[in-house]
């Protein structure tokens, strides 16, 4: 794997799960600066679980995680975020009883006070739909609007390493494309590291540089995105797809 960027996040031999029962077993992955790394897999494969282990929401049963070659295995969620991680969870990604502005301020919790207004404006620029909703409570917004807010919130801190768990869920097609092709791709271009989970597999692989296929809690493939995209049998082999499904993967 010589062509990969210098690793920013390195996870080795991760096992994590719920009530001491591992769901994800022995997964190793790395994300380098300037890279977009995609994890794909069927429902229930353990993608979100893997991500929660990386953010620290779930305690590790086994394995180590390092960020910028420093071991962060023992750190709590808040400390990991303080080291430049950002996270958009799949579910529960906004503070429902806070307004849009307050949500964004929380996203920029660790920023200096005077930086916040600037960042808010910058982030709202990327999601114009939120502009008119500054004082709206998050729980009284539409599904897609909430998702946008969730992403915007995570962008506030301008994280060096961003984790997105199905960020395009509930988003209208052009917004989804905007998120992946403009925002995420732009982040990578500017030297950030991105770990992305997507069900819009083809679209994700298009922008990604590296991809992992996770099924049943274990890594099955670890290839460059181009290689994965070229594998015509990717869907049938690893994602349990029928022929029809596999074609839809490519012409999405």
């Amino acid at each position: 794997m010589t062509e990969r960027a210098t690793p920013h996040l390195v996870a080795t031999g991760l096992s994590a799960g719920y009530s001491q029962v591992p769901v994800v077993r022995g997964v190793s992955l790395q994300v380098g600066l300037g890279e977009i790394v995609v994890v794909v897999g069927p429902n229930g494969a353990g993608k979100s679980t893997l991500v929660k282990a990386v953010t620290g929401e779930l305690e590790l049963l086994q394995g180590r995680i390092s960020l910028e070659s420093r071991d962060i295995t023992g750190l709590g969620e808040d400390d990991r975020m303080a080291r430049g991680m950002g996270y958009v969870p799949q579910l529960r990604d906004v503070f429902p009883t806070l307004t849009v502005m307050e949500n964004l301020e929380m996203g920029g919790y660790r920023l200096a006070k005077r930086e916040v207004p600037q960042r808010v404006e910058a982030v709202l620029e990327t999601f114009p739909a939120l502009k008119g909703l500054r004082r709206r409570l998050a729980r009284s917004m539409s599904g897609g609007e909430q998702k946008m807010l969730g992403i915007a919130r995570a962008l506030m801190a301008d994280p060096k390493f961003l984790i997105l768990d199905e960020p395009t869920a509930n988003l209208a097609p052009q917004v989804a494309t905007h998120v992946l092709k403009d925002i995420v791709a732009q982040l990578a271009l500017s030297g950030r590291a991105v770990l992305l989970i997507e069900q819009r597999v083809a679209l994700a692989l298009e922008i990604a540089s590296w991809g992992y296929v996770l099924t049943d809690g274990q890594l099955r493939l670890d290839r460059s995105a181009k290689d994965l995209l070229a594998m015509s049998d990717l869907g049938t082999l690893f994602l349990g797809m029928s022929e029809a499904g596999a074609t839809s993967l490519h012409h999405h």
């Binding site: 069927p42 429902n43 229930g44 494969a45 099924t215 049943d216 690893f238 349990g240």
Partner: protein, 337 residues
């Protein structure tokens, strides 16, 4: 020495505890149906038991002598068995219907709990202050049990018979509760507990379901009150402070919410063992110190139980689909390759 320790005294003591166990088990089952299944946090539970107790008392005490007699009450009459227990059951049901109509409105569950707690306080104050109702804070005395003419006037005079009588009623009702909660109706209750909007979008009438379970629970509470008052022969506001509701709740938590075997164990542990064992502690310090410390011990035991068994001694069991009348064995868990 006649009054001293002998087999008789011990067996009376144990019998009393067993009668209480039956009454508490009824309460705990009914509360578990309401809380564990339907998610209704009935912090006013004891009021419905009290309603049953008062009604069972007054319908057997005979007409009240009014202000001139040493106790005044309403509804005085001489109902024979089993009408007095039916009246008690009905009292619990009717009162819970009335309370349920406003307290079960759509609101956050913890608010609802607090509202019902307040109902409990209001009821206690009204009954204490309003003497003509149920003789105010002095309460009612002289209640006998239905088979008094046959076996001796007071239930404590023939405790074993009373235990048998209570146990049969208790057993039947508890089995009924178990059966109901395993039925599709019980499952609807759990659906309502977990997601009201989804449940109603599937055609469940939330308002009616909640009221059903509240009234059913209230009826059982009333019955348990009737059984209790016929045994101890007296009933007064001192017997139904809101703390009594918490004792039953704790029994459920300690035993295991949603699991009737757990609930039974909890009922045995909390009201009986937690609250009785400290009576055996040796006296220390000034008079009263031991009794205060007893409660400290009860509180600590309570907390330790919740700490070491957060899901209860026998936690709620997952109802495995294969056990559920399905002809098919569920496929073993496999990857989706």
């Amino acid at each position: 020495m006649e009054g001293g320790s002998d087999v008789g005294a011990w067996s009376f003591y144990i019998t009393t505890l067993l009668v209480y166990f039956v009454v508490d088990a009824l309460s705990a089952f009914s509360l578990n149906l309401q809380f564990g299944y339907a998610g209704v946090v009935n912090f006013g539970f004891i009021v419905f038991q009290a309603a049953g107790a008062y009604v069972a008392a007054v319908v057997t005490l005979g007409p009240s002598g009014g202000q001139a007699s040493f106790q005044q009450y309403i509804l005085g009459s001489h109902l024979p068995f089993p009408l007095e227990l039916l009246a008690a059951t009905l009292a619990g049901a009717v009162l819970s219907l009335v309370v349920g109509l406003f307290a079960l409105r759509r609101m956050r569950r913890d608010y609802q709990a607090a509202v019902l707690l307040i109902v409990s306080l209001i009821a206690l104050q009204v009954v204490s202050a309003d003497v003509p109702l149920f003789n105010g804070s002095n309460g009612l005395t002289g209640v006998t049990w239905p088979f008094g003419q046959l076996f001796g006037a007071t239930a404590t005079g023939s405790p074993f018979l009373y235990l048998g009588y209570a146990a049969i009623i208790g057993l039947l009702v508890c089995l009924g509760v178990i059966w109901l909660s395993r039925s599709p109706w019980g499952r609807s209750l759990r659906a309502m507990r977990d997601h009201e909007d989804a449940a109603s979008a599937m055609g469940l009438n939330i308002t009616s379901l909640r009221l059903q379970v509240f009234v059913l629970g209230g009826a059982i509470a009333g019955l348990s009150g009737g059984l209790l008052v016929e045994y101890i022969g007296a009933w007064s506001p001192g017997a139904w402070g809101y703390a009594e509701t918490f004792v039953i709740f704790t029994a459920i938590f300690v035993g295991g919410v949603g699991n009737y075997r757990g609930v039974l164990v909890g009922t045995l542990l909390v009201p009986i063992i937690f609250l009785e064992i400290p009576r055996f502690l040796p006296a220390v310090g000034y008079p009263g110190l031991t009794d205060s410390l007893e409660w400290v011990v009860v509180g600590l035991a309570w907390m330790l139980c919740l700490l070491f068994r957060p899901r209860g001694i026998i936690p709620e069991r997952r109802l495995k689909a294969s056990l559920h009348g399905s002809p098919r064995e569920p496929a073993p868990a496999e990857g989706s390759a």
